[in-house]
Symmetry: C2
Subunit: 338 residues, 2 copies
């Protein structure tokens, strides 16, 4: 009988996530009841938001993962057994599969069947066509609504979300300036993805470079980092700017709250707004987003990169790459071949 | 021949405004050319925004007052001579009259004639029906759009703008919680203006009291203060909250930028927005605002208080009252009887 390997939350992290915050266990295969579907996970998406899910904050947008529970995560997998007429063995599905080999879902769960015969690799469905791409799509177009000719700045420009944000802004006719943490990342987004410029925040003065690369100031900022960079951007916004707050990776590991952006009063003098969003709120529009992103992908207008680490057992270590700047593109764990 | 007493900007303040930042001079009466109107100022509005106008910040929403220039200010006055057929001696007008006895305007300037026979004192036109009231009106209704049943919090609740904001929110069927700096101010807004509750930030724990008085959390916050109170509010917002940034009086006198609100990431988890505005942007809709505010005033739904200091020469000292919490309602300088 096959076992189900699982990685559970063993401790709530203090500061950076440690491997010891997770535990490994082997569970029996889950039972498949009427209407349910058994899925074998192929790829697990690792996301900065997971840091928040590990924290005891009952007032966040989603309850925390409980200690001892299988760690939450989005996956793409393959149906191995189905007691639901809508699914058949071999179907590929995305869903909240968790950090484990197998899971069972029913029609109440948020799962999406990948249409047969689409010439797109399954990894796209946990990156550019998954929550990552949808986050970029709605967080940019709905929250910030860039117009052609406007200047859009995006942090974590070479990251999973940032790289898609910048490309969507280019498709919309904007000037796009990225901010990333290495010359190699900057080169990728300007030369391969078509960004107009990219600031290496580790070696360059961000405030100065923003002035240089944004001569008409910043109309839209898509923020994944918070901290000093958000503050520098606020010091360089145009009248009527829209700041879309997607995340704040500089702060997720902080053991106490960092100061907020001192330049927030630019929102007043520049009649601008700063707005947070959670991609799950757009669930009723996910189909629209996936269709548009797929079209751009098939037309060659959208490129993406996956950074695949092999082996479920390596997830507790690999997640650290999201916070130390060592990954580029979308970080995935390959759990099984499929 | 009559002289024109003027108060000019003598020095750019460092920290709190000092009387010595202003100078007094007597100038000849201004000439009245064709199309122009000579006005004797009756009341001068003193506003926190003046602190910003005195500062060398060329990147703000309005150029600073130059050193040696008559200090900028909104006034209500009486026409004494007119070479413009639309105005006659005795007409009352509001406009950018400045800290002086007399000024001249032409049809290019933003001036408004007060209709004859309206049973409203002229001081209303530099308070509840002036920029003060319009700031409350558009900053609440347009920027934050409160809905009946929602909870609205307003800082400087007993101030010129805050007291109007809270009453408009009550008219719109909201639960209204004020924040003010004395028991007397709290008493006024709850007993006389109908606020549901008021927190004395000098003696009470704001974060705790917000939780107590806002059991359904905060949907709208109208901010005039910034600093710790803005941060406390951010820690208590509801999903979909709107924060209207009108001012930040705690920070205007700061010699270096204070830390921003550490709780700004509540904007993300609560899918909320923080938006600044400048009332001048609503100039095309001022008539709408004044008409609505007048109607509420005449119906007895809106109360206001003026705090009148007599004598132009006392303006340099009186403006300090806006920053030390010693005034209540709208601070005006009576320049002449009219």
């Amino acid at each position: 009988m096959t076992m189900n390997r699982q990685i559970t939350l063993a401790a709530r992290p203090v500061g950076a996530i440690k491997e010891s915050d997770f535990a490994y266990r082997e569970a029996p295969m889950p039972a498949v009841n009427g209407g349910e579907v058994l899925v074998r996970n192929l790829y697990l998406s690792l996301d900065p938001a997971m840091r928040g899910w590990m924290t005891e904050n009952r007032d966040s947008y989603i309850p925390p993962v409980e200690l001892g529970e299988v760690m939450r995560g989005l996956t793409v997998g393959e149906v191995v057994e189905s007691k639901n007429p809508a699914y058949a063995p071999g179907d590929k599905v995305t869903g909240r599969g968790g950090w484990q080999d197998y899971y069972v879902f029913n029609s109440q769960d948020l799962a999406m069947k990948i249409p047969d015969g689409v010439p797109i690799p399954v990894t796209a469905f946990v990156s550019v066509l998954g929550m990552t791409g949808l986050t970029a799509y709605f967080g940019l177009l709905d929250v910030a609504a860039p117009k052609p000719g406007e200047t859009v700045v995006v942090s974590t420009a070479a990251g999973a979300v940032g790289s898609i944000v910048g490309q969507i802004a280019k498709i919309h006719g904007c000037r796009v300036v990225g901010i990333a943490g290495s010359a190699e990342k900057c080169r990728w987004v300007t030369e391969d993805l078509g960004f107009d410029a990219c600031i290496n925040y580790k070696t360059e003065n961000v405030a100065e470079k923003l002035r240089e690369y944004c001569p008409k100031k910043i109309d839209v900022y898509f923020d994944n980092v918070g901290g000093a960079i958000l503050n520098d951007v606020l010091g360089c916004i145009n009248v009527g700017a829209r700041i879309s707050i997607c995340g704040a990776i500089t702060q997720y590991n902080a053991t106490e709250l960092a100061p907020g952006p001192a330049n927030y009063l630019s929102l007043l003098t520049k009649r601008s707004r700063m707005q947070g969003f959670i991609v799950l709120d757009y669930a009723p529009r996910f189909m629209e987003g996936v269709m548009q992103l797929s079209q751009w992908l098939l037309e060659g207008k959208l490129k993406y990169k996956v950074d695949v680490v092999t082996g479920l057992e390596n997830a507790p270590k690999a997640i650290g790459k999201l916070f130390d700047g060592s990954n580029q593109g979308k970080l995935l764990i390959q759990i099984a071949n499929g």
